[in-house]
């Protein structure tokens, strides 16, 4: 495909036609890009991923996915099948995604719905579990899994579709540091396979590792910035405006730290350099 994988033109989305979740979003995504969508809680990141996955229709504006207008995708089973074979969404809450009695059943769900031959389904299940390092969890019930295991199983359930595009909603949220870095490495591995990765997160420390481009959604639910990782992450005033860092809890060069301040005060340039060094 030569054109962009996604092309959003002045997209707005309102829940129940009233509550504005996204406002005037313009976004182009090229094949193979690794993009991080940054935004504070409630800025509309998850809604954007659901729009990209064709699960929600834009209230106004146009969305082109895989070169086609996505309007009416939910009413066309054939088109929806083909689209979801190529675009996978990993939900923020793995309990939403793991709805089958066992991990193996969940990973098999997608390929089965796409009418793939049973032999192919079995091979994809094994492959996806292997890739996520969880073949031992195949027959386990989701309620028996830890948070990290659930996240891996949720990603495996999408990987079994072998999609070209993977949308990840907060893949490292609520995980301990070790599990978080295991997940980050898995995401990096997926990107290295040439897949297009769009990751919604508000964890700045993982962004330089999992993305090359950053799209920041502001609290007004509009795109506040769109550019290379370093350019965006070095722009403290922008990150403060997007509520991604606070003036008293932020990043100094490569160091992220937390410290107390008197209310209303902020340390000067010299102090910041001293702290970072």
């Amino acid at each position: 495909m030569s054109g962009p994988i996604f092309d959003l033109r002045d997209v707005r989305y309102r829940y129940q036609g009233k509550h504005l979740a996204l406002d005037g979003i313009d976004l182009k995504v090229q094949p193979g890009e690794r993009i991080a969508v940054l935004g504070a809680n409630g800025s509309g990141k998850s809604t954007l991923l659901k729009l990209l996955d064709g699960l929600l229709p834009a209230t106004t504006g146009e969305i082109y996915g895989l070169g086609e207008d996505m309007a009416g995708l939910d009413r066309d089973v054939e088109r929806a099948h083909e689209f979801h074979r190529r675009v996978g969404l990993v939900f923020q809450d793995p309990d939403v995604q793991l709805f089958s009695p066992t991990v193996g059943d969940d990973v098999a769900f997608g390929p089965l719905q796409l009418d793939l031959p049973l032999k192919e389904v079995r091979s994809r299940v094994e492959g996806a579990l292997e890739e996520m390092g969880i073949p031992h969890l195949r027959d386990r019930a989701p309620f028996e899994l830890s948070g990290g295991e659930k996240k891996r199983a949720a990603i495996a359930s999408v990987l079994s579709l072998d999609p070209d595009v993977i949308l990840l909603d907060e893949p490292t949220a609520s995980l301990d540091p070790r599990t978080k870095w295991v997940l980050v490495n898995l995401v990096v591995k997926l990107g290295a396979q040439g897949r297009t990765l769009i990751t919604a997160t508000h964890e700045l420390d993982i962004v330089p590792i999992i993305a090359d481009r950053v799209v920041v959604i502001g609290e007004d639910r509009r795109v506040l910035a769109d550019g290379p990782v370093d350019e965006v992450l070095d722009n403290d005033p922008l990150l403060i405006e997007a509520n991604l860092i606070h003036e008293h809890l932020h990043r100094h060069a490569p160091v992220v730290h937390a410290h107390g301040h008197e209310p209303g005060s902020h340390h000067g340039e010299e102090e910041a350099i001293e702290q970072a060094g």
């Binding site: 089973v77 939900f91 709805f99």
Partner: protein, 291 residues
């Protein structure tokens, strides 16, 4: 510096601690979840029944339960119960908890149901008990019928529990397909079971959060009000979650049509167990008819 701990001696005015309705509910929820996890652990053990195809177990156990249900002779039921105990022992099931699970509750519930029949059914009086202005007469045939009823319920429940203890719930559900249960129905059952755990987890959290903030005994009225409010919150959460789950299904190609992956294959031992199960059930029915 050390601080002496306050004396914990109860004064005569202090009442004995009794868990509240909320605490008892909390304990019940935790016990329910624990029991489910415990059952799955049993199903993973290496035992005679655990090694067999779940479809075989489902069909054979249903045949045995039908045989118990149709039997009118206690000798037949006791013989079938001996088979159940032998199967449990060969399947590495902890016998004490298995027996407790069945016989602590069954006599109570089924006994209450059949209690009147020992006084009103039959003609051969066994003993007469004065009861206020009346005399209650226990009849031997009523007593026999009540005993057989309790035994029948006990053996049937033992069979059902043995099936659950030796088979993963996911496998039991998949096996329902053998009985031509529609796959969408199986999916709904599976999802219900799956999300009951999640809801129980939420309930547990809500109960604990409430308990941690309670510093005095609350009235029954307050507790009932809180339970009603909790039900409302859970219902609203469940609706929201069902929307999300449906989206997660659609995102992976679901279009109101189901295909399932059944990785079962029958080996000689499975065929043998199926034949044995049906043969024992048929023999029990025949013996019951002959006696």
């Amino acid at each position: 510096m050390s601080i002496a701990a306050p004396a914990l001696n109860r004064t005569p005015r202090q009442k004995r601690y009794r868990p509240s309705f909320v605490e008892k509910t909390l304990a019940g929820i935790s016990a329910g979840v624990e029991q489910a996890v415990f059952s799955e652990e049993n199903a993973r053990r290496d035992g005679l029944l655990q090694r067999r195809d779940p479809r075989v177990k489902l069909v054979a156990f249903i045949a045995l339960i039908v045989a118990v249900g149709l039997s009118r002779e206690w000798q037949v039921m006791l013989a079938l119960y001996a088979v159940v105990l032998a199967l449990a022992a060969l399947s590495a099931i902890e016998m004490r908890s298995f027996l407790k699970r069945v016989w602590l509750g069954i006599p109570l519930f089924s006994g209450v149901v059949v209690l009147p029949s020992i006084f009103f059914v039959g003609q051969h009086a066994l003993v007469t008990v004065p009861f206020g202005f009346f005399d209650l007469t226990v009849h031997s045939d009523g007593l026999r019928a009540a005993g057989i009823f309790v035994l029948r319920v006990g053996v049937s429940v033992s069979l059902a529990i043995l099936l659950i203890l030796t088979t993963k719930w996911a496998d039991i559900l998949k096996s329902l397909r053998v009985l031509r249960v529609p796959s969408v129905f199986v999916l709904v059952l599976a999802m219900t079971y799956r999300y009951i755990f999640l809801v129980l987890h939420s309930v547990n959290g809500m109960f604990l959060a409430r308990k941690s903030r309670i510093v005095a005994r609350t009235s029954g009225r307050e507790q009932r009000w809180w339970i009603v409010a909790t039900i409302g919150v859970l219902m609203s959460r469940s609706f929201r979650m069902s929307d999300d789950v449906y989206q997660a299904m659609v995102a992976r190609g679901f279009s109101n049509r189901m295909r399932t992956l059944d990785d079962y294959s029958m080996v000689a031992a499975d065929w043998l167990m199926l034949a044995a199960g049906i043969a024992v059930a048929a023999l029990a029915m025949y013996a019951g008819w002959m006696l």
